[in-house]
Symmetry: D2
Subunit: 233 residues, 4 copies
C-alpha cells in the first residue's frame, strides 16, 4: 500500500532506535530498506525482520558511502530515499571540551551528512526524483550551555539541509530537516510512569517522516519540529 512515489530507502545511522522505527514504517509503506551503520552486525536482526539489508559503512569516508549506495542499488534498484540519522556529541564546561571530540562532533554530525547526501543526490539528480531527509535535534535551532559541539554539528547540518532545499527542490529532490525536540523513548528509557508520552515514541516520529514522503511537490515542507505534548519550549 505504498502511497508515496518512492521505492527504496537507505537509512544511515542508528539514532536512538529511530532507524528501527523508520525501517518498519517505510517497509509497511512498500519501500525496500537498506540499513547502514559502522557495525552492520548490529543491524542484522532488524534487516531480517523487515526483509531489508544491513550494510557496514563509516559515513565519514566517501569511498564507503559510494560503495554503500552502489550495493544498495544493486540489491533494490534505484535508491530514491536517503535518511541521515547519525550524529556524535560531546559536552561539558566550555573550557574542558576536548578539541578532537569537538571536531568529531562536526565531522560525524554534519560533514558525513554532506558526504551521504552528495552521493545520494548524484544518483537522484539525473532521475529528477528523490528525497533526502536529515534528523535534527533541539540543538539544531538552539545552542545550549555546555553543549557547543552538538550545537555546532546540528546547526551545520541544518544549514546543509536548507541550502540543499533551495538548490535541489526545484530539481525534483525533496529535502527535509526534522527537528526532534525532546528525548526519544526506548526500552532503556521508558516514559516516567506519571508522565505518559513525555518522550517521543520513535514510531510516532517515523510516521512524520513517512507523511513528509507522502507530500506532493506543490506543497512540500523542508522542515518540521516534533516534540512531546508536555515538552517545554
Amino acid at each position: 500500500m505504498a502511497d508515496t512515489p518512492y521505492k527504496s530507502a537507505v537509512i544511515v545511522g542508528v539514532g536512538a532506535g529511530l532507524s528501527a522505527s523508520l525501517a518498519r514504517s517505510f517497509t509497511k509503506a512498500g519501500l525496500k530498506v537498506a540499513l547502514a551503520a559502522r557495525r552492520a552486525g548490529d543491524l542484522a536482526p532488524l534487516a531480517k525482520e523487515v526483509g531489508g539489508k544491513a550494510f557496514a559503512c563509516d559515513a565519514t569516508k566517501p569511498a564507503e558511502i559510494a560503495r554503500l549506495l552502489a550495493d544498495a542499488e544493486a540489491a533494490f534498484g534505484a535508491i530514491d530515499v536517503v535518511v541521515y540519522n547519525a550524529s556524535y556529541r560531546t559536552r561539558g564546561p566550555f573550557v574542558d571540551l576536548v578539541p578532537a571530540e569537538v571536531e568529531k562532533s562536526l565531522i560525524v554530525s554534519a560533514f558525513a551528512g554532506f558526504l551521504v547526501a552528495q552521493e545520494a543526490v548524484k544518483r537522484m539528480l539525473p532521475r529528477k526524483h528523490g528525497a533526502v531527509f536529515f534528523t535534527g535535534a533541539s540543538a539544531s535551532v538552539k545552542g545550549y550551555a555546555q553543549s557547543a559541539p552538538f550545537a555546532m554539528g546540528k546547526f551545520a547540518l541544518r544549514g546543509l539541509a536548507q541550502s540543499m532545499a533551495r538548490e535541489l527542490q526545484p530539481q525534483g529532490i525533496h529535502v527535509a530537516h526534522i527537528v526532534i525536540d525532546g528525548g526519544i523513548r526506548s526500552a532503556a528509557r521508558p516514559d516516567p510512569a506519571d508522565k505518559p508520552d513525555s518522550l517521543l515514541d520513535p514510531d510516532a516520529i517515523a510516521q512524520s517522516y513517512l507523511q513528509l514522503l507522502q507530500q506532493q511537490r506543490s506543497a512540500w515542507a523542508w522542515e518540521i519540529e516534533l516534540r512531546p505534548w508536555v515538552e517545554r519550549f
Copy 2:
C-alpha cells in the same frame, strides 16, 4: 477510515479554496464538517457535497462565534477540531495605507482568530481533547515591503498560536500553525503551463492538515511551512 482520534470539525473562513479541500479531506477521513463564513449561502453547495452543514458567522463577533459552536455541537456532537482560515489584507505604499483598513487586517486576521480559538478551547478543555489549527502565510514570518498590515495580522496570529501551543498542548489540545508560503492554485488561478505545481494545490495543503491531525501526542508539530518545490525562499 478515520485514523485520527477526531470526530467533528468546524472550518472558519473561505481562504482561497482551501476550506473546500479541508472539508473534503476531513470528511473522507471520517469527520463531520461544519463550514462557517459571513455568508453561509456561498458554502451551501460544498456543505451538501460533503454531508456537512454551513453556518453564517462573522468571526469578529463573540456572540456569533458562540452560537456557531453551539449549533455545530447540536448538529454533530462535541467539536474537537477547529481550523481558523480567515484573513483580511490591505496593501500599498506605507504612507498611503488607510488606518481603518489596517485595523481591519489586525481584527480579522488575528483578533477574530483569538475569538474563535477561545470559544473552541472553552469546549475542548474540559474534555482534554481537541485540535486548533491556524492558517498562516509567507507574511507570518516575513514582513514584506508595502504589506505591513498583513504582516501585522499574520505575525499576531502566529504569536497567538505559539502561546496557545505552550499553554494548551500539555492540556491535551494540539495547536498548529501552518505557513502557506506561496500562491494557492484555483480555477481562477491555474498553474502557468510551463511551471507545473508552482502553485500550492489546496488538496495537497489539506493533506498536511490531516497528517497533523494524525500525529500522536508524543510527537506533535506546532508549526509546518508548506511551499511549492520551485518556490524561492
Copy 3:
C-alpha cells in the same frame, strides 16, 4: 556633541522608565526631545529636566497623533526620530482572557504603533531622512503560556517594523526593533541584592538606542536583542 545626524525626537509612551532614560540620553547627544503620553502631566518634570516638551496624546487616535507631530515640529523643527514605546498587556489562563482586553492589547501594542509610525514617516519621507524605532519585548519573538494577548501585540509590532524596514530603509529611513528580553530596573523594582545587573538598566538600554542612531546607512541593524548577562534564554 551630537554625533548622529538627527536633531529632534518624539518619544511615545512611558514604558517602565525607559522613556525617561531615552529622553536624557538623546538630550545629551544634542537632540531636542518631545515626550508624549496620555497624561502629559506625568511627563512635565522630565520634560523640564531635559529642556524638552511634554504632550498629551492618545496614540490610538490618528487626529491626536497628527497634532502631536505638528506641535512637536512647531516647537523643535523637523522631527527626525520617533520612538514607539507604548504597549498594553493582559494575561491569564487562555479561556479566562477578556476579549475587550485582548483587543486593547493589539490596538495599543501594535495598531497605535502603526499610526504613530505612519504619521512620522509622512513627514520624514519627503526629506528622505529619519529614524523610527520600536520597543519590543521577549514576547516579540516567543509566545508564552497565559500571555497570548501580549504575544499577539508584540509579534504584530515586529511584523510592522520588519515590513517598514524592507520598504523604507532604501528611502533613507532607519527602522529598528529593539527586543528587551528581561525586566527593566526601576526604583520600584531594584536588582535583587545578590544578583547585580540582573534587570536591564534603562540607561543601558537607551545607550543602545543611541548607538543605533549613530549607525551609518551602509551598515544598519533593523533589530537587536538586549538582555541581562545572567538572563536565561
Copy 4:
C-alpha cells in the same frame, strides 16, 4: 578615551578588510591590538600603523593559538577581547562540491573559531571578564543554493556563539555574533557609482563592534545583523 572596560584585543583573520577597520577602531578607543593571520607579514604595515603587533597563526592548530595568546599577553598584558574573523568557503552545484574543500569550510569557518574561543576563554574565565566576538555572514542564518559549505560553516559558528553566550555570559564574558548581511566595501570593490553605501563600509561595521564592547552587562546583545540600507532581505 577608552569608554569600554577593555584593554587589549586579538583579532584573528583578515576578513575583507574588516580586521583593519577593527584594528583602527579599537586602537582609537584605547585598546592595544594584536593581529593574527596565517601570514603575519601581510599584517605588518597595519600593525605598525596602529601601534600593535602582528602574529603568524594558523587558527586550525591549537598549539599555534596557544602561542598566539601567550605572545599577545606577553606584549600587552591580559587579553580581554578576541574577535574571530576568519572563514573559508567553496561553492558550486551541490554534486560538484569537492569534499576536502567542504571539510575545510567547516574547519576554518567553525572549528578554528572554537579553538580560538576556547583558548581565549581559558584566560578570561578566571578574571570573569572578557569579550569574544564572531563575524557571521548572510549564510549564518540562510542557506543559499550552491553554497552549502559556507552555510554549514557559518551556521556552525552561530551555534557555537549562541551556546557560548548561554554558558559564559553569566560568568562575565560577553559573547556576540555579528551577521554581516551584504558585501563589504574595499578598494578592489567600491560602491557602484549610482548606489552609494550599497556595500558595507568596514569602518561602519567596526563601529558596531565597538558599540557592542561599550554595552553594559545589564543589557548585552548576543547578536546583531548589519546590512546596507538598500540591501534586500
